[in-house]
């Protein structure tokens, strides 16, 4: 079984849940930018939650079903057709062999996940089928003409018609942030400033991270921080005072201080923010230095 890519839109890659456990070798986790949406797409077609699927950036994907398929789309809700018939998101959809699936541009959100029952069976690299756009590890970025094998189903198709999902906001996305680990490198009011007004997502954004624009976060200390390990969700602040939010393909280490880290599933929601949208950080009190 396979599918053949006809068109990719701005960027389409194969993603799963990445390569945890190799950061010590300089290999980042990578994987779906919005992990919750990937898991949901897989569950809807009866796959393991971490099976490989297509991550589509800003719609525009078209592919041909070489065999009969069951697919599901999650994340940014693209208008879509299969063999010319309209199909909806967050639901399993049967696609007959030969039919072409076409995704339009989503009215909200940025990344759409297309899971295929059986999962995409491209060759894994270091235990994962994720394309790491920063280190170049994993399958090639998808291009027209690429044929992607589909694996054997591992479980039954769940008896679900449509999964309820949270509506994606058209503008402001509120996310929780824990201050630290390097909040002490900043002026006393910097953490408060971070939460004081919304930050705009700039066009300088990709799977590695998104540059934000908003209140300047001033440093209280000069000098260089020796490089240290970085996590997904980290808000790293270069000397300009404008934070960069790290996403799935972030570098394993970095040399600028991190003022705070977006927590848990909230990173998924930031991965759905388009340039021009705003992030509002709700700074949580809670864990302090141990």
């Amino acid at each position: 079984m396979s599918i053949e890519i006809v068109r990719t839109g701005a960027l389409a890659t194969v993603q799963d849940l990445g390569r945890p456990g190799l950061a010590g070798l300089g290999v980042g986790v990578s994987g779906a930018a919005d992990r919750g949406s990937l898991r949901l797409a897989n569950r809807l077609v009866g796959n393991d939650p971490g099976a490989a699927a297509i991550e589509v950036t800003f719609g525009g994907l078209a592919f041909r079903a070489v065999d009969d398929l069951v697919i599901a789309m999650t994340g940014a809700p693209c208008p879509a057709t299969a063999g010319g018939f309209g199909i909806g998101p967050n639901a399993p959809v049967r696609v007959p062999a030969g039919a072409q699936v076409e995704l339009g541009v989503p009215p909200v959100g940025l990344r759409t996940y297309v899971a295929v029952r059986g999962g995409l069976a491209v060759e894994p690299v270091l235990g994962s089928r994720a394309t790491d756009t920063m280190s170049g590890i994993g399958p090639a970025v998808l291009a027209p003409g690429a044929v992607l094998p589909v694996g054997a189903p591992t479980g039954p198709v769940p008896g679900v018609d449509v999964a309820p999902v949270r509506t994606m906001p058209a503008d402001e996305i509120e996310v929780r942030v824990l201050a630290g680990p390097r909040a002490d490198w900043f002026a006393g009011d910097a953490v408060a400033r971070l939460g004081s007004s919304a930050y705009e997502v700039t066009a300088d954004s990709n799977r590695v991270g998104m540059r934000l624009s908003g209140p300047v976060l001033e440093r209280a200390r000069d000098g260089e921080l020796p490089s240290e390990g970085m996590v997904r969700g980290a808000l790293q602040v270069p000397p300009t005072g404008q934070p960069t939010l790290f996403l799935a393909d972030h570098p394993v280490t970095g040399g600028y201080p991190v003022i705070g880290v977006v927590v848990g599933d909230d990173v998924d929601r930031t991965a759905q923010a388009r340039p021009g949208q705003h992030l509002r950080f709700r700074v949580m009190s809670g864990v302090g230095p141990q």
């Binding site: 010590g24 070798l25 300089g26 390990g229 141990q290």
Partner: protein, 204 residues
Amino acid sequence: MRLLPCGDAGLLVELADRDEVLALFAGLDRERPDGVIDLVPAARTLLVTFASDVTDLGRVATAVRSVELRGGDRGDAEKLDVPVVYDGADLADVASLTGLSEREVVAAHTGQEWTVAFCGFAPGFGYLVGEDDRLHVPRRTDPRTKVPTGSVALAGEFSGVYPRESPGGWQLIGRTDLVSWDLHREPPALLSPGVRVRFVEVAR
């Protein structure tokens, strides 16, 4: 030791020096505590990431504190000989920067044991620290856009082997045939944290 929470699934441990970083890394890597996903050693820190549905910050912090930081504990890390042809484009510059002759640079590089302190920059790129400061040199003021695979280089207090062709600003002193990074090998990186390295001169 200072423990700095890094979101809800990470703990950044700040240590006194690199030896402590390697000792804590070795201690946690020997028997990874439940739920720990990644250990990322760096110059002065060890980042511990964990699955927040399996464990929590408190339990990870307890595990970190319970590691006895024995000086010089580098676990059961392997020893690796790296064959090098010392004909790098910057060998003469390194000689003048260090006040050594080219032959003395080679002798200093082969005459000490190096330890991989951490990886970064690119997959499989290890930052090796030596035993003395004779070869501490600044980066090139004019970085190269292409450094060939296998280049053996110096920068700051570190030596390194370029795992694949990439841009780079380190001073090139030689080259090795050793494949330090191979995706189809388990493990893919030969120069992983804690590994002890001897550079061995071979004829060109």
